[in-house]
């Protein structure tokens, strides 16, 4: 059986830019050797399938990318805030559990219908990056890359629901490497998390630019009439990611006990802002009268 051609450089660049290449094979090196050397897997029925092996890689990549997002909303003393160049001595989004908040929201509560998920998955399987950006660190062995790509394709084409956090992370990472191609390598797993604060802002500027066709920039093929909808949706997503990240960072979700409907600890956002220092109240002694003493008006 002839060995298929290795994926073209543009496919390699795409995988690098959405972060999968680095997380799986590069500095992250999260992908089990059995995927890279499938001969072992093929002869050992006890080893998990490639889908099972790539799933945690993608989940780790999404989490890492979204750590980069939430510290953009509320920096703290964590490594992501340091990489971003805005460390803070007081707790931030990581301590406030904002990344869990975003992942849970995206994966479990944003309705992500198949009619959108399938083209998104297909786009990730076939996506190319021929944007003329010189990317460093693409010297992965073609045979390894091909197998990684096949594992990704197997996952994306399986019947499993695609968690929305992965394509969102892919979007942020694509934009990150547009802003700074060097971000394909470095600390953390994801290109977006490697950006400075100003570079992250530039990535959002690309997403938000109302006169650009982001779908075209992404080189993703959507059938009409979905293409126009996806283009508009991405502009909404750009804003929503920022707003949701800040809402999550300053809210109580990380310390809220759904069963007792009480707080396990004081939320980070409450401590920073001084909100209700003794917890929830029935009322406040803030009534100081009626303006100019007037309690009633009429025509």
């Amino acid at each position: 059986m002839p060995v298929p051609d290795p994926p073209p450089l543009s496919r390699r660049a795409f995988l690098a830019r959405i972060g999968v290449l680095g997380a799986a094979l590069g500095g992250g090196g999260l992908l089990a050797r059995s995927v890279i050397a499938p001969a072992d897997a093929a002869t050992n029925p006890l080893l998990p399938t490639t889908v099972d092996l790539i799933r945690p890689v993608l989940a780790a990549l999404a989490r890492d990318t979204l750590n980069g997002l939430t510290v953009f909303a509320m920096p703290g003393p964590d490594p992501y805030s340091r990489t971003q160049g805005t460390p803070s001595s007081t707790p931030g989004a990581i301590e406030a559990g904002a990344t869990d908040f975003i992942i849970n929201s995206l994966d479990n509560f944003v309705p992500f219908p198949d009619a959108i998920a399938q083209p998104v998955g297909a786009a990730l399987v076939t996506g190319l990056a021929d944007s003329g950006i010189a990317l460093p660190g693409l010297e992965v062995l073609p045979v390894e890359l091909r197998r990684l790509d096949r594992a990704l394709a197997a996952y994306l084409q399986s019947d499993e629901a695609l968690p929305l956090s992965f394509p969102i992370a892919g979007l942020l990472n694509l934009m990150a490497t547009q802003v700074n191609p060097l971000a394909v390598n470095g600390p953390h797993l994801s290109p977006f998390a490697r950006l400075s604060y100003a570079e992250k802002a530039k990535a959002f500027e690309l997403i938000e630019r109302t006169d650009s066709d982001l779908v075209a920039l992404l080189d993703v093929q959507f059938p009409e009439p979905l293409k126009a909808s996806v283009s508009g949706l991405l502009k909404f997503v750009g804003g929503a990611l920022i707003e949701f990240a800040t809402f999550g960072a300053y809210g109580e979700s990380a310390v809220y006990d759904k069963v007792s409907r009480t707080l396990r600890a004081r939320p980070i956002g409450w401590s920073h802002t001084g909100y209700q220092p003794h917890g929830p109240v029935e009322g406040w002694d803030d009534f100081i009268g009626y303006y100019q003493g007037r309690q009633k008006v009429s025509d």
Binding site: P75, S88, S229, E243, T246, P280, F287, Y291, R294, V297
Partner: protein
């Protein structure tokens, strides 16, 4: 066969239901979401638990919170804040009940008459609506807002602008005042203590200054449902509709069915005239159908057009879903050295009206919503990028998101040393701002709506009004002593919704005739904010919408049931009436 089926138990539907129940009609009220019958067991005071649009108990989605919310397409950076559940968006509103500006009505002859949206006036006079304003004001009841420190701070700023204080219900000129709001004034211990033991009904009555308007009102603790301070329709009109036999002579209690999503309005030709005959709704995946002599659509500005289109009803002039107005809000806030009382007390108890430009009101918010409000922008991120905008003016630096390290610094200065001002624009009715059906997949209730707002391409008058009011907001905050003032330049945050099924005098650009009946289908009425002819000049829409719904109820009664109007000839019962409380208790409601 019912007399009347009302679709939607939000701000408008319960008004029609209650008024017609009082006349003895057989009324079925259908609501897509839950009725929160026991808020003390179902609600908290926490922002994520309450207001998360995906998972909160006040969200746009099914009652079962483990299921996803109902997705709606917004092809721009924006946020359309719909709520399901009895009360609709009045569950999270601030209870502000200003009257529409007289200049948005036909026949207005003030000196500024050409300054309004002159092509889209109400098809009758302001005077025609006054008895209905008064009726709703007495029913809720609407009162002059009590003052806390954030209002005191707002007034301190307003006093520097050279404007008079408004001491009437009607707004005649640029002026400022405490809100007229549907919040019971504090009585007893309310507003005077933070001690939970003392804040129990009836030791405390009315508003306890808890600051949780946006999380739903269930205070004072221990009060009957119809004595809660905030007069959302789940606390006022719905309790009245459910108990109509005890407070109205000949009244007949409505039937309320929740978790009932109406998917279709049925019609047939009668004597050559297309006429409404009933509705189909889905409940737990099962279809139900009932017939009625009159159907009233009260599902809101986004869902009414969707229901219309999914029912295949005619749209000869193309105006179903068009002309959506939203007051094109903006957000300006100041950082103070001194205590401002934000976020205690009613969410917003002070306002400034500026016909024919719009208005301002103060808004108190808890931390996560304050962070959300500071990062929803069409102007990029301050100091980083402007997204082609980033206006400059009497605020500090360019408009844009306050983000990351800057947001943390601002909020860590203390939430109660901030004062936020909502900029309300008198915005024009425009055909391009509209609801259509989305190309994205349908949900279990049918094809979903798409809400398009071309915020950068609005009329010159709308854009000018917004800039004018944003400057006034910054000047007010400076006058109040703010050390720093930020303008966010909000992306469309669609909370005040109006006019997507508008009533008008012209057949060319309206869906409803001057009686609130649809031009295309007889026996089909619209009674909620979508029926409004325009954005009212900027005043918060609920009072005008409910006044119009009251008038529409009279038109239904006189046109289809041979009855007489009652508003000019009788007195309303107040929604806090103890007979209602007692009956609710007997019914276990």
């Amino acid at each position: 066969m019912r007399d009347v089926i009302v679709v939607g138990a939000g701000g408008g539907g319960p008004v029609v239901a209650k008024e017609l129940a009082a006349q003895g009609l057989d009324v079925l009220l259908l609501e897509a979401g839950p009725r929160h019958a026991n808020p003390r067991d179902e609600w908290t005071t926490f922002e994520d638990d309450a207001n998360n649009p995906l998972t909160g108990y006040l969200r746009w989605g099914p009652s079962d919170r483990s299921k996803p919310a109902w997705f709606r397409e917004w092809p721009q950076n924006s946020f359309v804040w719909q709520l399901s559940g009895v009360g609709g968006t009045t569950q999270h509103f601030y209870g502000n009940y200003p009257r529409a500006y007289p200049g948005v009505f036909e026949g207005y002859d003030g000196a500024d008459k050409n300054g309004y949206d002159v092509d889209h006036r109400f098809p009758f006079t302001y005077g025609e609506l006054v008895p209905y304003f008064e009726w709703v004001e007495a029913t809720m009841p609407v009162m002059t807002a009590a003052m806390g420190h954030k209002e005191q701070t707002f007034f301190r700023g307003a006093e520097t602008l050279g404007l008079p204080v408004q001491t009437t219900k009607t707004t005649h000129r640029p002026s400022y005042r405490p809100q007229e709001n549907a919040i019971l004034q504090p009585g007893g211990t309310a507003g005077k203590t933070a001690s939970s033991e003392l804040l129990v009904y009836p030791k405390a009555t009315g508003c306890t200054f808890c600051g949780y308007c946006f999380q739903g009102c269930m205070r004072p603790n221990g009060a009957p449902r119809n004595q809660f301070a905030k007069r959302s329709t789940d606390n006022s009109y719905v309790p009245m509709a459910l108990t109509a036999n005890v407070w109205a002579r000949g009244g007949k209690p409505i039937e309320l069915i929740t978790d009932a999503f109406v998917t279709r309005v049925h019609t047939e030709k009668r004597h050559g005239v297309l006429t409404a005959t009933g509705v189909t709704w889905l409940s737990d995946g099962t279809e139900h159908r009932e017939d009625a002599r009159v159907v009233v659509m009260s599902g809101g500005c986004t869902e009414n057009p969707r229901l219309w289109m999914n029912s295949g009803l005619p749209n000869p002039n193309g105006w179903v879903g068009r002309g959506y107005t939203d007051h094109f809000f903006d957000w300006v806030f100041g950082v103070f050295d001194d205590y401002t009382g934000n976020p205690k007390g009613v969410g917003s108890s002070a306002r400034l009206d500026y016909p024919p430009y719009g208005g301002l009101e103060n808004v108190g918010l808890p931390p996560a919503l304050a962070a959300f409000a500071g990062t929803l922008s069409d102007s990029g991120i301050r100091g980083q990028y402007k997204n082609g905008r980033g206006q400059t003016g009497p605020w500090d630096g360019p408009a844009g998101r306050v983000m990351g390290p800057e947001l943390k610094e601002v909020l860590s200065h203390g939430l109660d040393r901030l004062l936020s001002v909502l900029v309300i624009t008198d915005d024009d009715v425009e055909a391009q701002n509209r609801v259509t059906l989305s190309a994205l997949p349908a949900d279990e209730n049918g094809p979903i709506p798409k809400v398009t707002f071309k915020q950068r391409k609005r009329t010159a008058r709308t854009l000018r009004n917004r800039e004018f009011m944003a400057r006034k907001a910054a000047e007010l905050l400076r006058g109040a002593g703010a050390k720093k003032v930020y303008r966010i330049d909000w992306a469309p945050l669609i909370l005040h919704v109006q006019s997507s099924m508008r009533m008008g005098s012209s057949e060319r650009n309206s869906v409803l005739d001057a009686r609130g009946e649809t031009r295309a289908v007889k026996g089909l009425f619209v009674a909620d904010n979508s029926a409004l002819s325009n954005g009212l000049g900027g005043p918060n829409p609920t009072l005008t919408s409910q006044a119009l719904a009251t008038r529409t109820a009279e038109k239904i009664f006189s046109t289809y049931f041979g009855g007489d109007p009652w508003v000019r000839s009788s007195s309303p019962v107040v929604s806090t009436d103890p007979r209602i409380s007692v009956r609710l208790g007997q019914l276990g409601l």
